[in-house]
């Protein structure tokens, strides 16, 4: 999966779980600025875990501040799997 494909796939998952549009979202976009709160991120993490067959522990989840943080962590996990 290319980086672009990963980004699109994660955008789809976030849009689905948080019921929002991610049009125009950049890597440095802060999650709270697009109305994604801690409850949304718990649901997003659950969906990412299922979709990519990975584990996101709570301490990692709490450190996601930007969309790019999520992508970087997924890339790190996927490169080890």
């Amino acid at each position: 999966m290319s980086r672009e494909e990963l980004i699109e796939r994660v955008k789809e998952i976030i849009a689905q779980e948080a019921k929002i549009s991610l049009n125009g979202v950049q890597l440095d976009t802060r999650l709270e600025d697009i109305n994604i709160d801690s409850l949304d991120m718990i649901e997003v993490a659950l969906a990412l875990e299922k979709s990519f067959n990975i584990t996101i522990v709570t301490t990692e989840l709490l450190q996601f501040e930007t969309f790019g943080d999520v992508i970087a962590e997924l890339e790190r996990k996927l490169s080890h799997s």
Partner: protein
């Protein structure tokens, strides 16, 4: 002897009302339905109850309800929270409560909700037991304190907020507690009332298996028959009633319209049985409420009864009223409106108190519907002929709960008393 605090504490008035009910999603629709003697009880078709002895309920049937929330917001709101937010918005608008003349840091929210968490939990747990998925929203959606919290978050009230769960008396106690918060000077304003939904397959089945529900599935609107010899149980429902309570000074300072004054609150326990009421316990809260209001039994113009339509409640409540009101018991109209709006558990007391406020405002009391056959054990004046014109100066609203937690509230016509009356 209960000390009468009436003149040493602040007066508490009602300046806003909001209602979502099976008779309509506004105060005016609710009131018109009650006065016309309509019933909001229908056959439930939203889910399968074919294995249940009872298949009727009093649903809020407003088709626009969901449309008032975004898809994202809706997922985070139990039915009880949705109903609370809609009724709360009505009450706030009705009272004209605004940050320009009211410090929202000093506004509390006290809501009674008791069964809504059970109903909200069902789809979550069904999924969990089916495929192991535990939705992270379960706790924030299901917790019974969510209606109060959602009201605080939505409108920015930063005073004390809490849920009061005392089963069927939850919102009566919520209003009583809010009354005390204002009366004793903790806060000036409280959004108080109840919001609850008892309508889900598991909850209806649970109450049915306890043999508390009417099984007249073939006649939904005639099913619940308070004080009637042929009564066979209550009908579950849902709804929300929210009131804006304020100190008299706060209301007068902002020129708010005052509907009525809460003058008395009685709270006590049967200390007897989890499901069977005690006439002594029911009578005790009526006495306490009258004493705290400084109202004599013979000054009471109207009693809105708990009147569930169960065999035990209606007879026990009648006995308690006779004991407390003595020779004047037969002179006081006693009305049960649960035949019309069902029993919404945590919301019932608030909806019933709002009907008392409207009786004071309009000098008319609604009928007890479906009382077809008089019961020799229930021989008070239950207003069966239809709505009745009556000047109501003092009304009592009774709420009695499983577990023996009982409440009675006295609400009175507001009469400014000079020279203590604050300048507006």
């Amino acid at each position: 002897m209960i000390e009468n605090h009436k003149h040493s504490v602040r007066r508490v008035v009602i300046t806003g009302l909001g209602v979502v009910s099976p008779l309509g999603s506004s105060v005016s629709d609710f009131w018109a339905g009650l006065l016309e003697g309509r019933s909001g009880v229908k056959t439930i078709t939203d889910f399968d109850l074919s294995q249940c002895r009872t298949r009727i309920g009093a649903q809020v049937v407003d088709s626009d309800l969901d449309a008032q929330f975004s898809r994202k917001t809706l997922r985070r709101l139990s039915r009880a929270s949705q109903l609370a937010l809609i009724a709360g918005a009505q009450a706030i608008e009705d009272s004209g409560l605004d940050q320009t003349d009211c410090d929202f840091n000093n506004v509390g929210v006290v809501v009674g909700s008791s069964i809504g968490g059970f109903t909200a939990a069902e789809p979550f747990y069904r999924r969990y037991f089916d495929d192991g998925t535990a939705n992270p929203l379960i706790i924030p959606v299901v917790m019974n304190s969510a209606p109060a919290s959602n009201l605080s978050i939505r409108f920015g009230f930063k005073g004390p907020i809490m849920n009061i769960d005392a089963a069927c008396a939850s919102s009566a106690h919520a209003i009583g507690y809010a009354f005390n918060l204002i009366r004793f000077g903790v806060v000036n304003t409280v959004l108080a009332g109840g919001a609850d939904s008892a309508l889900s397959p598991g909850v209806i089945q649970a109450w049915s298996s306890l043999r508390t529900l009417s099984e007249r599935n073939e006649n939904p609107s005639g099913a619940c028959r308070p004080f009637s010899l042929d009564r066979d149980g209550m009908v579950l429902g849902e709804g929300s009633g929210i009131l804006v309570l304020e100190s008299e000074l706060s209301a007068c300072n902002r020129n708010a319209r005052i509907y009525a004054e809460i003058t008395g609150y009685g709270a006590a326990s049967d200390s007897y049985h989890l499901t069977k009421p005690s006439a002594q316990g029911l009578g005790e809260v009526m006495r306490l409420a009258l004493a705290s209001a400084g109202v004599a039994p013979e000054e009471t113009d109207y009693i809105n009864a708990h009147a569930t339509g169960t065999l035990w409640n209606d007879k026990t409540e009648t006995d308690a009223i006779k004991d407390v009101f003595g020779s004047c018991a037969s002179e006081i109209p006693v009305v049960g409106i649960k035949a019309a709006i069902g029993h919404s558990i945590g919301a019932s007391g608030a909806l019933e108190l709002i009907s008392c406020v409207l009786s004071i405002r309009d000098s008319v009391i609604p009928p007890t519907i479906n009382l077809n056959i008089p019961d020799p054990d229930c021989n008070l004046d239950y207003v069966t002929e239809g709505k009745r014109a009556r000047i109501v100066t003092h009304a009592m609203s009774n709420s009695f709960a499983f577990g023996g937690s009982n409440a009675a509230i006295v609400v009175s016509r507001y009469i400014p008393c000079s020279p203590e009356t604050p300048k507006s």
